[in-house]
Subunit: 284 residues, 2 copies
Amino acid sequence: MNNAASRHPFDRAIALEPQGRANADGSLTYRGHTSPAYANMVGPFGGITAAQALQSVMLHPQLLGEPVAFTGNFAAAMRDGEFIVQATPARTNRSTQHWTITIRQADDQGDRATVFTATVLTARRRDTWGAVDVAVPEAPTPQNSAAVPALRELPEWFKRYEMRWVRGIIPDRWDGTESDSTSTLWARDELGRPLDFPALLAMCDVFYPRVWLRRAKRVPAGTVSMTVYFHVDAAGLADSGTGHVLCDARGQGFFGGFFDQAATLWSEQRRLLASSHQVVYYRE
Amino acid sequence: MNNAASRHPFDRAIALEPQGRANADGSLTYRGHTSPAYANMVGPFGGITAAQALQSVMLHPQLLGEPVAFTGNFAAAMRDGEFIVQATPARTNRSTQHWTITIRQADDQGDRATVFTATVLTARRRDTWGAVDVAVPEAPTPQNSAAVPALRELPEWFKRYEMRWVRGIIPDRWDGTESDSTSTLWARDELGRPLDFPALLAMCDVFYPRVWLRRAKRVPAGTVSMTVYFHVDAAGLADSGTGHVLCDARGQGFFGGFFDQAATLWSEQRRLLASSHQVVYYRE
């Protein structure tokens, strides 16, 4: 890590210190810390936890290829402070690799308990035919989109992004009027840090709970599981550079305390960067 | 398992024999076998492997609630024959539980190697507000939809389902004409076995590779990772009984050897049962 990169809050947040060498099964353990810069109302921003998990793979000496798919499960509330990440290459093939990841933290009794699990697929990309069959969200330029209004209770992580809203900004009246659950916004790192896989992964969690918008009602809600498919390689990410990312999300099915969210993320040049899905618990 | 159920090929396919009792961490190991009734061209139908993995959770004495989210990763080709599944309750909360699952098989050297990994979220459902914001696919009744044409190379698992096609049936001319990647079909167990969570999970993998339809070209392709969100509880599944399930899938982004598929599954009464996503490798 160079000094310039290490000064950025995102790089500090995902910094992990390997604890010795890999075991016989390839598993490697790292120590990390939650980041005050990416704090949520309670505990850390889910996107930063996902990025920390992915970083344990990115730093692993046995890594093959680049991230293609990531599923992370928020198993329990994370506490502010230290955590331990373990990344294991469960299977390494000729051009693909499957990872399992666990994040543990000390619980009330001082025992290490699992707070996050993940699986990751990495692969060497091939040159193939390609196409994008999902519609680009309609949006004006970032400059012509609305800045975030001054809200009283902005969580700290929110300030790490420059956000420009196209539609579906957080309701200003919690009056229970049901409406479309779609949000579209431009997001960019506040300091212009160039996009890489952990940063793109974190950005897939930039949306507030769809159920708040859908119902104009602020019920308890939180992401429980999140899947991201990357549709870009490192060279493609470098192309999007420090530009804004067009982020679009909508709710699908809301039933029995859980709903799912479908999202897509696009570069300023309207290149599909990632598709993402998550399941979110809600009450009432 | 009663005798009637045990005679059904699906129940035989997902039958698992616990190997002793759960360990201190709650992990429990089972022995299972691939099923000739659900064989694919090479190895087993991916949907049945996913169902076997989920079954290891369904049978676990510490199971809390019902399945909400499932992600399975096809880490390596499965061989016909025996396998070992290990299900671990990684975290148990008041109303949610997070599981990790590994399937292992002997490799060429006789060592047990990981061939499949999964994470599962189970939860006690709550009575909440609900809505479905994803469009129901247009479809005539199953009786007015087309039966599967007599193809030469039908894999065995295909015959376990009564399929009625609405659109996007497998191309009869592989002439490279690019077209929409959407398939819509009615599917039902050939013997009328009522739907349960493992059967619904397997059905989420009923689609042939979207890239074949999109390009009218039969390139090598296979599912690598699959996520399913359940939008129904056991009572809701019982309501759909032995009816047909409306299955709809389309490709999203095709890039560098991997594409993603978005799918929804609905009861005959047009109730949303599941949303599903998978990432599929392809060549050329």
